[in-house]
Amino acid sequence: MVDETTLYHKRKRPAEAFLLSAVYGAASMSVILLAGMVGYVFFKGAGTVSWSFLTTAASVLQKTSGIGGNLVNTLYIAVLTLLAAVPVGVGAAVYLNEYAKPGKLVRLVEFTTETLSGIPSVIFGLFGMVFFGETLGLGYSLLAGAFTLSLMVLPLIVRNTQEALRTVPDSYRMGALGLGASRFYMIRTILLPSAMPGILTGLILAAGRIVGESAALLFTAGSGSRLPKPGAGASDTIRRLWEKAHESGGTLAVELYLQMQNGRYETAFGIGCVLIGIVLCINLLLKLGADRLGNKA
């Protein structure tokens, strides 16, 4: 019988204490492992990273071993991919959410995009090589790589845009339509601005995947690493940019893969450092952007 005149009867619960320490242990373990890995990559690769490493292209003649060309290719692929995927993805999300009648077709399309996001990227590479490379005749080119990646990141953009559109209250839609706005005008002036944070989230997540992708690019964009030469004047620059899109080019992740294959681990770790840096920046951007937009609304 417990003495009921006092509250000081807190019991020790050994099972709870054990579970708690197990949970803490698991949490700190995952942080330590991740931090350890990132630290190790930096430890091994930081020495390789230098200004010339970042700005020159690998060349036997000039005895340089830089990754400048790959850096430019990465940027190229990211921009081209997003240029192709964002309009299509946002358009698809708007259609699914605002125009399509809810029903079998919508669920089918949603199921397909979900599935698409679970497919291993090497399969996108296989399809891209055969379809964009051979059938459409793009060969090994930045353009073929970018189209392949657009398919891959499309679900990310569709899903994030859809989520964002769903959170826009119906009363906004009715308010605009009640003033005489057409559906399209309402979408352009009310929905898309309200959904912008979600669209940006999808875009940045997609950028992260693009930067880290190698399997889907190896046989579509190939592995060229030449630095583009600056054009003379605006029209010449545009012409060169367009030509470059038809040339083969390896991104940082692809180059890292190739360097590993050839046993050049120093360079590989150097590229690893740069990649981790870029991904960290992208995540920071995502966080900053989300906070900024979150505060404004």
Binding site: Y172, M174, G175, A176, G178, L179, G180, A181
Partner: protein
């Protein structure tokens, strides 16, 4: 009798298999306030939305009959709904300002209808805010977000937004049900002023409110329009027994 602003003839509406309006006919006078009363679910909102075709956006809705605005059938195939909704504006139950500045909220309609000039817009915004009796409270914060206003201010802002497209008819669906008593008074006063220039049709479940603001009234029950006429007649000497019961119960 003067010609009605809106005249509804044999209006039938069903959502899928459910009939929501049954053979409703009624006349609505111009430059007057008409109140629609009746228990909830009787079809008041549905009827209101028929007057500017907001029911077009509802899945599976079927409408028969006609609604004439100044003698033109708004359900005619040649009707431009944008133009119709410019003439017949709507204020909703929940204040629904857009997530943008006060100024941009008011300018939304005029811009939509093609007005771009800065000075012209400035003038319209001021006029609309004054018309909705909210200019004094907002004139120093036009560039601030409309979401920062109180509920009552937001509702008057929404009225101003509707006025900014210079409508002829204003439809209001329980515009004060989400507001506190002080804001409600302000909006009621505003409604009484609006009828100088506009034809107002207001849905309310509050009989006292209906009696305070309306010139005419119509009683709806289970999708039917039971009785309509001058407000004082409808409230004090209703012809139909169902109206009498409802009114007696509501005035208590």
């Amino acid at each position: 009798m003067e010609r009605s602003k809106i005249s509804v003839r044999n209006l039938e509406l069903s959502y899928g298999a459910a009939r929501a309006l049954k053979n409703v006919s009624m006349e609505i006078r111009g430059c007057a306030v008409t109140a629609l009363i009746g228990p909830s679910g009787c079809g008041k909102s549905t009827f209101l939305k028929c007057i500017n075709r907001m029911n077009d956006f509802v899945e599976g809705v079927r409408i028969r009959g006609s609604v004439f605005l100044d003698g033109e059938d708004i359900y005619d195939r040649r009707v431009d709904t944008t133009l119709l909704r410019k003439k017949v504006g709507m204020v909703f139950q929940q204040p629904n300002p857009f997530p943008m500045s006060i100024y941009d909220n008011i300018a939304y309609g005029p811009r939509l209808h093609g007005i771009r000039g800065r000075q012209e817009l400035d003038g319209i915004v001021e006029e609309a805010l004054k018309g909705a009796a909210i200019f004094e409270e907002t004139k120093d914060r036009l560039k601030k977000s409309a979401l920062g206003l109180s509920g009552g201010q937001q509702q008057r802002l929404c009225i101003a937004r509707a006025l900014a497209v210079r409508p002829e008819v204003l439809l209001m669906d329980e515009p004060t049900s989400a507001l506190d008593p002080v804001s409600t008074r302000k909006v009621e006063e505003l409604i009484r002023n609006l009828k100088k220039k506009y034809t107002v049709v207001i849905v309310t479940h509050n009989m006292q409110q209906a009696a305070r603001v309306c010139d005419d009234a119509a009683f709806f029950l289970a999708g039917e329009m039971v009785e309509s006429g001058p407000g004082d007649v409808l409230f004090s000497r209703p012809k139909d027994r169902r109206t009498r019961d409802y009114v007696a119960g509501r005035f208590g």
